[in-house]
Amino acid sequence: MKLKTGPGYLILLLLVPLLFLYAFNLPVVQEADDPQELIVKGTENNPFSEENETCLRCHGEQKYELTDPVTGMVVRRPMSGSYYIDRDVFYQSVHWSFACLDCHLADYGEYPHALSLRFEPPYNCLDCHGYDETYARYKFEDIETEHLKSAHYTQTNGEFSCWNCHNPHSYQVLAREGKDIFEVVRNSNNMCLVCHGDPFKFGLVSDIEPTEIISTHNWLPNQRLHFKAVRCIDCHTEINDSLLVSHNMRPAEEAVKGCVSCHSSNSILMGTLYKYEAKESRREYGFVNSAIIRNNSYVIGANRSKLMNYGSLLIFGLTLGAVLVHTFFRIRFSKKHHNE
C-alpha cells in the first residue's frame, strides 16, 4: 500500500494554530498603570477633603435640599448636571489636591449662594498656568494662541473656553503620560462627543446646525475601527510642531480626508496621535513608524517592515535573476542543439 500525503495535513498544521488568534478572542487583562506615576491621588490624600465636603454635601449629590428660611419648608431638588461634582472623579483628576475655595470665591462658603456670585467670571487656564516656569513645558500660552485661531473660538463668538472640553473637575492627562493609546483615543473622542454627539449640548455653545457624526463620516471605511484607533483631533486640527496636542480646530471642510495622509510612510499620525511616543521612545522594531506598532496598533501603508522590504526585494530579485539566467541558457543551448 502506498503511503500518500494529502494537502489536508498542511491545512491542519497551519490553520489550527490560527484559530487561537481569531476564534478564541478572549478578553485581554488590563495592564497596570504607568509605574512611574508616583503621586498617589485620592480623597484620603487631599488635606482639604473635609472642608470640601461643605460644598460636596450638595454638589456631590444628585439631589439637594432647599430650606425656606421663613416657613422652614424643606424641598428636595435635582442638582443640575453642570453643578454636580463626582467625588471619585474629582479626586483622581489633575486638580485632585485642591480645595473648592482655591478656585471659587470664598463667598460660596455661604449658603444660599448670593445671586451676585453668578456674575463673577470663572478662572481660565492661563490665570493659573500662564507665564509660569512651573508649567512652561505644557506651553499653555501657545495653546491659547492656537485656540484663538480655531473654529471653536471663531465660530462661537468667543464663548468657547478651555472648560468646554477640559472639565477642571474631571480632567486627566493621558497623552503626555504614555498611557495606552486606545485609552487616550477614547478619552479624547469622548470629549468631542459631549457636544458633537448631543445636539442639545451642541446648541448650548453654537448657533450652527449640528451635524450627525456617523453619516458625515460614512466615507470612512471600517468607521468603528477608525473611531476607536484615531482621535477626532488627528484629522480635525492643524498640526503644530511645537505642541504635543494641537488646539487649532479647523472647520469640517478643512479636515484631513485623504487616506494616504495617514496610510503612508510619512503618516501625519506621527505628528499627532503618536507624537509623544515618537519623541520619547528609543526602541526600534525595524518598522517604519514603529511607535504605532509599539502601541499594539497597525496602519496599512504606514508600518512597513524594513527587514521584509529588503528581504522581499532580494528574493524577488533572485527569482527574476534565476529566470533570466535560465532563459539565457535555454536560448544558448537550443541554438547549439539546433546546429548539431
Binding site: 500518500k4 494537502p7 490560527l18 487561537f20 485623504g258 522581499s312 541558457f329
Partner: protein
C-alpha cells in the same frame, strides 16, 4: 505529432482564468496599499481598498470551485504526494531544470496519462493552493472584519500579526506567479502550455 492529454476540463479552465485575473488584481492593489504614498500612488488608496476587497472575496468563492472540484473529481489525485522517496524525486526534477534540460536529457517525470504534474510542480501547487492561499483567505477575511481579531497576541496587536502574515503569504504567491509563468514556457513549445489552458489539451513533453 506528440501525444495529447485532455488535462483541463472546462471547469478547471474557468477556475484557472478567474484565479489568474483575481490574483493579478490582488497583487497590484495589495502592493499599492502596502507602499501607499502621497506623491506616487500606484492606485488611489480608496480604489485599491475597493479592488482588493472585491477581488479577495471573489477569489474565496472561486477557490471553492477548485476545492470542491478536487474533492469530487479525479483532478484531486494530482495533489496527493507519496512521501517515500519525495526528496529524491524533488532533487531529480531540480537537477533536470538546472542541468539536464540544457543537455537535452529526457524529463525524469514526463507528462503522461497518469502524471499531470512533476514532483516540483506538485509540491509547489500543494503549498500555494492548500497552505498559502487558505492562510491569505483567513487573514484577509479577518482584516476585513478586524473586530474579530484578538487585540493582543504574543505581545503584539492581533491586527498587526494578521497583516504581516497576509503580506508574507501574498508575497509568496507573487513569487510563485513569476516562477509558474516561467515554468509554463517550458512545455513542448514556449506557448503550448498556455494554449492548453484555452483548449484543455496538453501536449506531452
Amino acid at each position: 505529432m506528440s501525444e495529447k492529454y485532455y488535462f483541463y476540463p472546462r471547469w478547471i479552465r474557468v477556475w484557472h482564468t478567474l484565479n489568474a485575473i483575481l490574483c493579478l488584481m490582488l497583487i497590484v492593489s495589495g502592493i499599492s496599499l502596502q507602499y501607499s504614498d502621497t506623491d506616487a500612488p500606484v492606485i488611489n488608496f480608496q480604489a485599491a481598498i475597493g479592488i482588493h476587497n472585491f477581488a479577495g472575496v471573489a477569489l474565496t468563492f472561486n477557490y471553492m470551485i477548485f476545492f470542491v472540484g478536487n474533492l469530487l473529481t479525479e483532478n484531486g489525485r494530482n495533489y496527493l504526494m507519496r512521501r517515500k522517496g519525495l526528496r529524491d524525486r524533488l532533487w531529480k526534477q531540480l537537477r533536470y531544470y538546472a542541468y539536464g534540460f540544457f543537455r537535452g536529457e529526457k524529463a525524469p517525470f514526463p507528462v503522461g496519462k497518469e502524471r499531470k504534474f512533476n514532483p516540483l510542480q506538485q509540491i509547489s501547487y500543494v503549498i500555494v493552493m492548500y497552505a498559502a492561499i487558505p492562510l491569505l483567505f483567513l487573514t484577509g477575511w479577518a482584516l476585513l472584519f478586524p473586530e474579530f481579531i484578538l487585540k493582543k497576541f504574543l505581545g503584539f496587536s492581533g491586527i498587526f500579526l494578521s497583516a504581516q502574515l497576509h503580506i508574507a503569504m501574498g508575497f509568496l504567491v507573487s513569487v510563485f506567479l513569476v516562477i509558474h509563468l516561467y515554468v509554463s514556457t517550458m512545455g513542448r513549445t514556449p506557448l503550448s502550455n498556455f494554449r492548453s489552458m484555452i483548449d484543455g489539451w496538453q501536449e506531452a513533453h
